[in-house]
Symmetry: C2
Subunit: 569 residues, 2 copies
């Protein structure tokens, strides 16, 4: 009963602030542009000539109205507003094949949606691997007018983290889809606000082999320096849009107090560094209370995969010191890349702040999703319950709305993997997965538990980290576990203060339990946020209450069978 009241209160709040909020009109042109994210000239997808794209800054309750104009020569484009639930506007979720038809070259599409909750979000391409071409930017929602944050700070910095390859994402797509697959390898650089250093190091003086950077500051790959006053507390908003890398973030000599995760308040806790997976965002507080006549390293390091990419670096500059002076000590040393205990300990520290929305006490449906790497006719795939998602050309949202049964497989994928005694510790015994495009149709308003079950990859003794991201909803993270999930594990679920997130990781050979309420009419992707994994089929689609929606704008439907249906009507 308490849950119902919460939900009602939240809805009232949304309606209230939506009316109170302002409408931000933005006009964005998306185009390819020569850019040097890390010192080597590449081609990026820029927005209004900028890489990364412009930061959107709004207040909770505002309406964002982005007219997106596609200036790519031959490619469609969409933009996903990561973490925004798109309640009432599922066609604005910006996922090709799911929420809308890609915007054709030369055409435009208006993304109009409400940002109903304060928090740190970002946006990115969600078509092919365009995110890997640099189509991303930050989306920051401040508390509504008259509201105050739960914590105090004097200033703010916003950092969007990403990884960068010199090989174009189109070629990466070709490589991944080759038979046999050609793995894209580790990124050449880690970028902080789109800036990294490929063939030089800011910290060369602490290394025998590194080449110092000869930077004047105006270069596209010059670091984004944080200029801070001393003895102040700053809020640092950090989001990760990496294609592959899991990251560890640190500021030398400074503690970080985590206060927000994916737009939700968490019970504050203080650490030396944080792990951040692709698709996640955090706010951390830090205080400039160290020796004032210094600068300090800010470092981003690869976690979970054996690092072959140099640390991403920039500088926290105390205003009492020249910004051009490098720190006197080496950059922070991250935890060992394969120290899973460290990562799990961090994840387990993230708990909901007091008075956060509570999960319903029980689930109506449980979907257990086995994550496996497989082969299919010699191609490498990632599969969920032995189905590798092959997205259809007609987006689900319109196909469901107009009952176009030919648009996708009408059979639901299974709620449980088979055989039940599948051994997650060994390579998949079934070398051939299948591909499919069936979806999970959820009863409107039902409470759904998803158990993400990790397993061994195709490689002996390897199980990888996967950060799973859900569109259209936040979910409660009820717990992480080792080995195979069994019904007995339910007893250990955290129903007291589980954190609300939109992204949660599964650890090697482990499981992660999530709960959400299927109360947002639309068709919603749920997928591993690692770009090449999604490209190889690592995702599922949920749909609920689509027939409750009013008209879907035709602009979202001008492709595939919806176009055919509506043009021939």
């Amino acid at each position: 009963m308490g849950v119902l009241v919460d939900v009602v209160l939240i809805l009232v709040y949304i309606i209230y602030t939506a009316k109170a909020g302002e409408v931000q009109h933005l006009k964005w042109e998306v185009e390819y542009k020569r850019w040097s994210p890390d010192g080597k000239e590449s081609v990026v997808i820029a927005i209004n000539g900028e890489f990364p794209g412009p930061t959107i800054r709004a207040r909770a309750g505002d309406t964002i109205n982005v007219e997106l104009i596609n200036k790519l020569p031959t490619e469609g484009v969409v933009i996903h507003w990561h973490g925004i639930t798109q309640r009432g506007t599922p066609w604005a979720d910006g996922t090709a094949s799911i929420s809308q038809c890609p915007i054709n070259p030369g055409e435009s599409f208006v993304y109009r949606f409400n940002v109903d909750k304060a928090g740190t979000f970002f946006y990115h391409g969600h078509y092919g691997m365009q995110r890997s071409s640099g189509l991303y930017g930050m989306l920051i929602v401040d508390v509504a007018d008259g509201e105050t944050e739960k914590f105090k700070y004097d200033g703010e910095f916003d950092l969007l983290l990403s990884d960068w390859w010199h090989r174009a994402s189109r070629d990466q797509e070709v490589d991944l889809s080759s038979k046999p697959m050609q793995w894209i390898g580790e990124p050449q650089s880690l970028l902080i606000n789109g800036r990294g250093q490929f063939n030089c190091s800011l910290a060369a003086s602490f290394s025998k082999s590194a080449v110092p950077c000869d930077l004047k500051g105006g270069e596209q790959y010059a670091p984004y320096i944080l200029h801070a006053l001393t003895r102040k507390t700053y809020r640092l908003r950090i989001a990760s849009s990496t294609a592959l890398a899991s990251l560890n973030f640190a500021i030398g000599n400074h503690k970080l107090t985590v206060v927000e995760a994916d737009g939700n308040y968490v019970e504050p806790f203080t650490v030396d560094n944080i792990d951040i997976y692709s698709g996640e965002s955090y706010s951390v507080l830090f205080t400039t209370d160290q020796y004032y006549h210094r600068n300090y390293w800010i470092s981003v390091s690869v976690r979970g995969r054996e690092p072959q990419t140099p640390q991403g670096l920039t500088i926290l500059n105390y205003h009492t010191e020249s910004a051009s002076r490098l720190p006197v000590s080496p950059p922070p040393v991250p935890p060992r890349w394969d120290d899973d205990h460290y990562s799990k300990a961090f994840s387990n520290k993230i708990l909901a702040a007091a008075r956060s929305p509570m999960p319903p006490p029980a689930h109506d449906r449980r979907i257990v999703l086995l994550n496996t790497q497989n082969t299919m006719d010699g191609f490498t795939k990632w599969s969920i319950n032995n189905i590798s998602l092959a997205l259809p050309s007609t987006p689900y949202l319109g196909a469901i709305k107009y009952n176009l049964a030919d648009a996708y497989d009408q059979t639901s994928p299974p709620d449980h993997y088979t055989p039940a005694d599948y051994d997650i510790r060994v390579r998949p015994p079934n070398p051939n997965t299948t591909s499919g495009n069936g979806i999970y149709v959820l009863s409107f308003g039902s409470t759904v538990d998803v158990i993400l079950q990790n397993a061994n990859t195709n490689t002996f003794n390897v199980s990888e980290i996967h950060p799973w991201h859900l569109h259209g909803h936040d979910f409660w993270v009820l717990g992480y576990g080792e080995g195979k999930f069994t019904d007995k594990d339910e007893a250990g679920f955290n129903l007291k203060n589980p954190p609300l997130r939109n992204t949660a990781v599964i650890f090697p050979y482990g499981w992660t339990a999530l709960r959400f309420v299927a109360d947002n009419p639309g068709a919603w992707a749920f997928h591993c946020h690692i770009e090449p994994h999604l490209h190889l089929g690592m995702g599922v689609v949920f749909a609920e209450g689509v027939h409750r929606l009013g008209a879907i704008p035709n602009e979202a439907l001008a492709c595939g069978l919806t176009a055919k249906y509506l043009m021939n009507k």
Copy 2:
């Protein structure tokens, strides 16, 4: 009167053979694929896994039915059937923004059209610069059943010539559209049937600096060898799909007798080598009458631009000699790249064969098109009568059909350049061109003369070659001239035996006069066939009789304003 009779006879012939012809059903998947066209691994656009795409072989009167399935991850695609007039099927012409909407990823489109005339044709991408990614192949139409060619031969070889860059066409597009423009430079290789050698030479033994090729024959870049019997006459069909290069083609020690150009019979003439510009095709006859215990070079060399690309080479192998033995003499030496007299002499040799269709004796409308290179706000453009073509997102054919006036500028571009005393010998005095998308609407059935007038580029003392290609029609080439065309030049028009072509070149500082009858309902591109020039606006669009057409398939209209109009109807 004689002309009218001819036209009627041709139409009767078409209807007759169309009924008699067969329908060829082809299913093509277009996808990116790793490929090594010249020894360096690249990514090409392949059809059914092949590069170049499969050769279509049909008989005059056949119907070709290609179901094209777009397997590119994020790009639309179309294919233009170069030289096929698409009478009655203008939506199958395969030109994005003009005849149809691009085929979306995951979707398919059926190109169904009649091949009404025997000849040597080819097909290629016509969206963005996808042709430069290798989307091309040959289309050969034999004479109808029961018909015979005008010349005799014992065997046939088919060669599709192209040029290749290691920089992806997407990046080339970005470079060309940059401010200032970054020129793509000369191609790294010339390809014969998709095969060239980049970092080695088949003819290394005749050069001090070249590295010999270590080829076993199975490599993707191993040359396509012509295995011939001795003392036979062969027909060699040659088409050029180059993005930039004008070419000279030769077979060492063998004379070439030109018998066909762009699918039209020409009065046979014999030469040592032929010039071939992008968009052109020829049939030449040669006889294997040389010393039998030898192989002979086949060479392709750059014309018209200072060559920085090695000759493309392969071998004519006499069956009396091992195919692995290289010729004993060096490859043919082409004419000097800047010997325009040589090129003009060749072009002037091309005259219609006896009993070819004759042009109407007079024109109803004359359109004079000044070709200039300009700048526009710091961007480099090519302009026609000071307008650089910026293609609209709604294809003209559907926009005209449904009277969607917002789809493009309803004002016609000018029939003549201004000022009339424009000095073609100097750089354009007006640094700023305009861009536009207006079209030339032609009276149905009228006779149109087009005078292509060349001029100086933006560079002092430079005027470039441009091969202009017309869709939907052949035209008669009435003549080539030096300097500025004036009405007095009309007296020199060849109305006796002008060759029918679909592509004609303008020489530096010269003019070329063309005549055609606007009797094919549709919207038709007329443009420089150099891919970067078209990308920078070097084209115009003609339209005639669109309202005479029946229904246009909706599949060709699912974009832009036609989709909007038809979905909201």
